[in-house]
Symmetry: C2
Subunit: 448 residues, 2 copies
């Protein structure tokens, strides 16, 4: 082979493209039914849009290049900077809340590995500009959309779990335990990796944080906390009886709303969900499948300061991202990837080249007037060979153009001759043929 694709990118042959389109179609369907509208930005932006948010260190992870004028550009590695830029440009004109989603491709200039490619697609869902009083509902709605997708494509609550925590709750707890703010990041880092290390390593790492005995004991308990018991334990550590507007009250309300929306079975409080990025200011969540891949299917959270920090307007936000690679991998592994394979369209077969003109007329009628997919053989072969091609194309019906014109239902095998027995010489003939074809296809559809 003279040339190959770049490692970490993918060629989408029709079968892979069908999978990608299926997934993106589902993402769109689920987003729209929850009232989100689609947007997109350019594939590349000025490099400084990314360094401004993430620092110069990000440059080596980006594909970057120069404009003709020498300005530095980069392929987008994520959507947030673009989203902030776009919202900022119309901050006053856009009605709030902004419920937007997108299905862009992103790029990472890193070594590809299983589940992490250099070009991938990602579903992004965000709610921007809610008022304080609506934040719980917006939080629940965001988690709900992710779960609505996972449930729709067939993941049961046995197969997938939405782990939810609150960064403000954990911060409050650390403060209550007397751990000063400067040490919080170190504690977060250990909690974040809790599920990626053996229990004894977790204990060891907690022990090396330089905390007091009581603090260490509380963190070890926190490491094991999960579900309603975990929340009860935290409430106890906080001194009990947290009000509705407290971080714990809010988290409980979000979990309650998710239960109302009938996805409570999927959800569990899990203080091990931290999400490395520093900018989360409230709820954080990640979905994990019970499959073999130890990576989250999706993740997100509340980021009330982020838009302002990256040069956008001071609007609250909550959102999540879900990449195509892991979810397709998991769907496949669990046998849940079921693309529609039902027969579709019509194949037109002719009994010889002397009927090729009528074949072309019929093909154009099926495509334009019936709006149905229609194919025919480009080869001068026997009816038998053309019928084999029709089968390979998985069509619902075949029209056979010979001395007479016949319609065959490929599911039932039933074949009927049309009463129309002329050449399709003019528009009146075409209309007559079309009317009879419509009737027969209607009858044929009923009988299958």
């Amino acid at each position: 082979m003279k040339f190959q694709n770049v490692k970490g990118t993918r060629d989408f042959y029709p079968e892979q493209m069908a999978r990608r389109n299926w997934l993106i179609g589902k993402w769109r369907e689920i987003s729209r039914r929850s009232g989100f509208v689609e947007y997109d930005g350019p594939v590349f932006e000025y490099l400084e849009l990314y360094t401004d948010k993430s620092g110069e260190g990000i440059v080596s992870e980006l594909y970057n290049f120069e404009d003709r004028g020498g300005r530095k550009l980069a392929l987008r590695p994520e959507m947030t900077p673009t989203l902030a830029r776009m919202v900022a440009a119309r901050a006053n004109a856009l009605p709030k809340p902004i419920k937007w989603f997108c299905v862009p491709n992103f790029f990472r200039a890193e070594r590809p590995q299983r589940g992490r490619l250099r070009e991938f697609w990602q579903w992004n869902v965000d709610i921007i500009g809610t008022t304080e009083e609506a934040n719980n509902v917006a939080d629940a709605e965001c988690v709900m959309v992710a779960l609505d997708f996972l449930r729709e494509v067939g993941f049961s609550s046995e197969q997938v779990e939405m782990r939810i925590s609150s960064r403000t709750l954990i911060a409050q707890l650390l403060e209550t335990l007397g751990i000063e703010a400067a040490r919080h990041a170190a504690v977060y880092a250990v909690l974040d990796k809790r599920d990626k290390m053996p229990a004894e390593v977790f204990v060891e790492q907690i022990n090396t944080l330089g905390l007091g005995e009581e603090q260490r004991a509380a963190l070890l308990k926190l490491g094991e906390a999960r579900g309603p018991e975990g929340l009860a334990m935290i409430e106890q550590l906080l001194g009990g009886n947290q009000p509705d507007e407290s971080p714990l009250g809010r988290l409980k309300r979000v979990l309650g709303l998710l239960k109302l929306m009938k996805v409570g079975d999927y959800c569990v409080f899990d203080p091990g969900i931290i999400r490395g990025l520093a900018y989360y200011t409230g709820i954080v969540f990640e979905a994990y499948s019970k499959g073999t891949l130890g990576r989250a299917i999706c993740g997100g959270g509340r980021y009330d300061n982020l838009l302002k920090e990256v040069g956008g307007p001071p609007l609250s936000g909550v959102g999540f991202g879900m990449g195509d690679v892991i979810v397709l991998d998991q769907l496949e592994e669990m046998g849940l990837l079921k693309l529609d394979q039902s027969p579709e369209g019509i194949y037109v077969v002719n009994e010889g080249m002397e009927r090729i003109d009528d074949t072309m007329v019929i093909v154009s009628i099926v495509r334009f007037d019936l709006k149905k997919p229609c194919n025919y053989s480009y080869k001068r072969t026997s009816v038998k060979k053309q019928m084999q091609e029709a089968s390979a194309h998985n069509v619902g019906h075949v029209i056979i153009v010979g001395d007479r014109i016949a319609l065959k239902n490929m599911a039932t095998g039933e074949q009927v001759d049309l009463s129309f027995d002329k050449k399709l010489a003019n528009e009146a003939d075409c209309q007559e043929f079309l009317a009879e074809l419509r009737t027969l296809l209607g009858d044929s559809a009923k009988s299958t």
Copy 2:
């Protein structure tokens, strides 16, 4: 504004995104009904994939950058090299003919101008690997798909014209006129620009080609040739009576097939269609609108040697490309851009925060069980304000959650109370509510 998008790229706010999705949706629908299947490649390839086809001169027109390993990459400026690479990798396994389409974005590192942007989307349709005997049908089919789209979105044959020529026919004519092969490129260049210059400049340019009197006279006649008369004139210059397998016979057959497929009104023979690229080996075509933009809406042709030349297999090919910028511009200018604005979905309004839980349950039922878009207000506002939000969302129905639950048809204004008058406390309640809602929505749909 702190940051802006790169000049020549576009931000797709929801209203622009709806246009892009509408266009790409139409491209897909039309491709599929003509039996094409979708593929895609990566957004970037090794730079040498492009320089191998187009020479080092192409580099300055590409956005290029380096891999971590120092290998040169480039953002794709077109699909053909990727197509050739992908087909080459599976040349034997793929059933022929290969009828593929794609709707990728491409990139040009040039100064943006009206109708030419740095990032744009393009519909590509190709038929690869037909046998010699099927080439006329494949040629006609390709032109047909482009016209099927243009007709479907509303361009009449008064508004858009498909100009068709044959590079082999023009080459044969030049040979017959005694113009040696080495001068053909210069003649093509003048013919190609015929429509972009005043008649007297065309004459001047023909005169400077250094040809004999008879050759010049014939070329001036060719410059004015159009339609059936133009073809008759060329047949005369060729000595009359060209057989079916001759370039003229083939071109006439393709035009005849297009007439059979009922798009003959759009098609005209036009020897001014050359298409700058050197690789075309048969039919060439471009569609022009009668709007103000002097650029082709789409263009393509037969390229039987191209795949082999760019490192692919020795397979015949015919195809075309249509960019998003010009066609959207022309559709808008002619008032043909009609996105579906009909009301859709349901808005749930509540009479106070004490009904917020039931609101959430109902929202989840509409989304998941009815699969309908469903929104609700995040704000604690009056029913009146929520109804205004519902109108702004252009929904078909509103569910009002108060002491009773009511359904309002926004088109007719009719409002009915549901007989269901409980809280949605459990699954049985939900099912009872859902059943009544289904019935009422069915009745309501019938009455509008």
